[in-house]
């Protein structure tokens, strides 16, 4: 199958005096794959999303979306296939009400009014915001605004969804709302999803995890295998989840973990099995 997103030897920096954010960067994301990209701040992870939909242009290298090279002449057309949710819920809310905000992307695409109303309804229902159609943004919580942002993107039927630290400014409840929304989308639709994040809960939703460090891929692995190199991850400034930390410590007491557990139930199961064998 052709890759949904492909980076070929991409170089990028914000200006000529600045250091390279991405250096000879290569990446292939398959269609309908869910990928998490993690890394500490300044590792170049956010730049990837902005390059992928042409908001930034690389100094060298090629970016291909659905096997088509992204150029200045086809960027608007290709962008129709890529939806993007940004970090700050406030700064991406264009409309004066929820309904208007979802409509914005559809109006830009010249969708008829009749179809617009249908799509607004469907996509707001998908994210559980159908009762808020006429609400104004300042009466919504951060999590609700972010759900509207997702609905706005989904209403345009993108094949690829880029989430650029979409949960990092939310409170715990908002974060949970977004995670369950993302999970639903993943289960119900055929969509390629790229989550740029440092939230472990988001990572567990992914099929594949890419760790970025200094403009390059540090590891490209699966969620299960991610913490095998826990020393390496810590050395590039990532912190370990509690269950992984405990598992590592318990290894000193001859407990065995086939994979490092990412949530409580996994941890308990592994501990139980290992305890029996002792």
């Amino acid at each position: 199958m052709m890759p949904a997103i492909e980076f070929r030897d991409v170089y990028f920096r914000y200006n000529e005096d600045a250091p390279w954010v991405l250096k000879k960067f290569n990446l292939k994301i398959k269609a309908n794959e869910t990928v998490a990209i993690i890394g500490h701040n300044g590792s170049g992870k956010s730049t990837i999303a902005k390059l992928a939909n042409g908001l930034l242009v690389p100094q060298a290298g090629e970016i291909l979306i659905n096997d088509r090279k992204l150029t200045t002449s086809n960027v608007w057309e290709i962008r129709q296939k890529i939806g993007m949710v940004f970090q700050n819920p406030e700064n991406q809310f264009v409309g004066t009400t929820v309904k208007d905000d979802v409509a914005f992307g559809l109006e830009n695409r010249g969708v008829s009014r009749k179809e617009m109303i249908e799509r607004i309804h469907t996509s707001l229902t998908e994210v559980g915001m159908e009762d808020y159609q006429n609400h104004e943004p300042h009466n919504l919580s951060g999590g609700q605004k972010q759900r509207v942002a997702i609905a706005s993107v989904m209403a345009t039927y993108p094949g690829i969804l880029l989430l650029d630290e979409a949960t990092s400014m939310l409170d715990p409840r908002g974060r949970k709302e977004i995670l369950s929304t993302i999970n639903d989308l993943k289960e119900e639709l055929e969509i390629t999803m790229v989550m740029i994040t440092h939230d472990l809960h988001e990572i567990t939703l992914a099929d594949r995890v890419i760790v970025m460090n200094e403009g390059q891929i540090y590891i490209d692995t699966t969620v299960d295998q991610l913490f095998n190199d826990h020393q390496g991850l810590q050395s590039i400034g990532l912190s370990l989840p509690l269950t992984v930390e405990l598992a590592i410590e318990l290894e000193q007491y001859d407990y065995q973990f086939a994979t490092y557990p990412l949530d409580n139930e996994e941890f308990l199961e592994a501990l139980w099995t290992s305890n029996l064998k002792k």
Binding site: M84, N91, V94, K99, D100, G105, N108, E136, H138, S152
Partner: protein, 264 residues
């Protein structure tokens, strides 16, 4: 959480006035502003006042709240009255205080002019109290649509207006937040010399501008990502439609105007 209030701030509701098409309301206000200047006797003034009162009743808003909303304008109304009292020297002298005379003409002139002013402000504030800023923007865009032919960027202007409206609460919150943060660092906007106070605004303005620019940049990027490239080929969700209520209101309003001119 805003602890301050804007003059004529929109109060959501479902009264007849709320439900009118914003274009109808704009046209009524616009013509009313002109008509007020044609009032020339107490009967015609009374007729317009009656009209304003009925409008207020129809909005189902509390009259005290409406009057409080125009508090900042009271000063101007009273000032207008006093000004006419002093400068108009017509008719018999009513009071003479140490060579400074108040004439009957001055009182009458003062009353009519300030009453006219009061009616203007009152009725205009009814528009903003019962119409959301977004509806007003829509109405302006629709009413100005013919000017697109002579290359007036009506769509862009309307979008700019709607985005500004959208970000007013955000920026107010931000202003409050930053001024509180700086107050916690010892900035005092209330006391000190004028020079001190002007300097005290800098720590508020710089962060506000920085954040506004950052927001503008983010917003531009988000709009681009969602495929915004100007008005061409764009459809619209918001559509205004005249209803039966609007036609009825227009007919009644026309009658009111006709009666008004017959009373002059």
């Amino acid at each position: 959480m805003k602890s301050f209030m804007i003059i004529g701030q929109f109060v959501p509701g479902n009264s007849m006035v709320h439900r009118l098409d914003p274009r109808s309301k704009l046209m009524v206000i616009f013509t009313f502003v002109i008509i007020v200047f044609f009032a020339n006797n107490s009967v015609s003034y009374g007729w317009l006042t009656l009209f304003a009162l009925i409008l207020i009743l129809l909005t189902k808003l509390h009259i005290g709240y409406i009057l409080k909303g125009i508090t900042p304008v009271w000063f101007l109304i009273i000032f207008t009255f006093i000004l006419h009292l002093i400068i108009t020297k017509e008719g018999p002298v009513l009071i003479d205080i140490g060579g400074f005379a108040i004439h009957k003409g001055g009182v009458l002139q003062g009353l009519t002019i300030s009453w006219r002013f009061f009616l203007l402000v009152l009725v205009t504030s009814l528009l903003t109290l019962t119409t959301s800023p977004m509806e007003i923007t829509d109405a302006i865009e629709e009413l100005l649509a013919p000017f697109k032919k002579i290359k007036v960027p009506v769509h862009e202007l309307a979008l700019m207006m709607s985005i500004s409206l959208r970000f007013i609460p955000t920026l107010l919150d931000e202003t409050e937040k930053i001024s509180k943060a700086q107050a916690s660092r010892g900035v005092d906007l209330r006391t000190g010399s004028i020079k001190d106070r002007v300097y005290a605004i800098v720590p508020l303005l710089v962060p506000l501008f920085i954040s506004a620019f950052k927001r503008a940049e983010d917003l531009a990027m988000a709009m681009e990502a969602r495929g915004y490239r100007g008005s061409e080929g764009r459809t619209k969700l918001r559509q205004l439609q005249f209803k039966k209520l609007d036609y009825m209101a227009m007919i009644i309003y026309l009658l009111i105007i006709l009666i008004f001119f017959s009373l002059r």
